[in-house]
Symmetry: C2
DNA sequence: TTAATACCCTACTAACTTGATAGAGATTAT
DNA sequence: ATAATCTCTATCAAGTTAGTAGGGTATTAA
């Protein structure tokens, strides 16, 4: 019951691009800011590009940028793309992809479906515009106390 | 974001023992009813015994039985025991076990904590008495239509 | 007492997933 | 040209998952 580093990194990368929305950001900049291994992030961004979340520009002054506005991207879309289905499958899916023979009588399944529904609802409602706003507020509050600039 | 077969089997085994509460059930009977590989279930039950969920009786007419009433066992207890923490850790836990350096500013963490809280609440509220009751009702309803007996 | 029954325990393994790293190639601004 | 950047494929060590194998030990019916 966990999200992988890959998924976590993907979310962080997109949040980073949301915060710097409007210009192309180099992989290395994102990697440093978000503390992600450079070469790993390279692969993740390539995958996110295939998924239609980001676009890129090559050569000097190149980098990555969001394919659409932060408001149009949800956590759910990203998680499903890099991690697969969100539902905490018990044996909801059996081998093939269709659900198991006992599904109709399975009371465990009901609980997991309920949980899956909650998670889906949650992550589908959170956009990267929301995350960006919250992130900036948190940082602003910190700056007030610590006198740092980022 | 998934539960393993081991966890699924553990839940099914305990539900089976809850349904047959009062007598000792052989591993093989449980394995057949719940469609679990015998030798795998053997290990799982041994582990559940160490965890204090079940007790056993050896020799002829031996088998496993619940260590306490179905009402006193929750899904959460079992899942945590066989699967570890329920929370969909983002990078909430870093290497050691303490949370990461950026936790205070991390907006992703907030979302995952919320989800983790919901899951924990849910599975901690569902007891095996609840599951047993629902299971028996489902089976009864099926029997009415199909004229089967189990 | 003894044979049958059933749990106890440890070791092993094949396949898969995770979290990367390596390096050559393609593209673009200056 | 050339330096900066993304592109793409391959590889890999470590860990996890889903089992299997096989002998050992306790209990009890007969
Ligand atoms: S969904 Fe298959 S047994 Fe529960
Ligand atoms: S909790 Fe560590 S960066 Fe989010």
């Amino acid at each position: 019951m966990k999200i992988t580093f890959k998924g976590d990194y993907a979310l962080k990368a997109i949040l980073d691009l949301a915060i710097h929305h409007g210009r192309a950001e180099r992989i290395e900049s994102i990697a440093k800011r978000q503390d992600i291994p450079f070469k790993f992030l390279e692969q993740i961004l390539l995958s996110l590009k295939k998924g239609g979340f980001v676009r890129s520009k090559r050569g000097r002054d190149g980098g990555y940028y969001l394919a659409r506005a932060p408001k149009q991207i949800t956590m759910g879309q990203v998680i499903r793309y890099v991690e697969g289905p969100i539902e905490p499958i018990s044996c909801i899916l059996k081998k093939g992809g269709t659900h198991c023979d006992f599904a109709a009588q399975c009371v465990l399944r009901d609980v997991f479906l309920d949980i899956g529904q909650y998670i889906a609802d949650k992550v589908d409602r959170v956009t990267f515009a929301d995350l960006k706003e919250k992130q900036l507020k948190k940082l602003a509050k910190e700056n007030k106390y610590l006198n740092y600039s980022i």
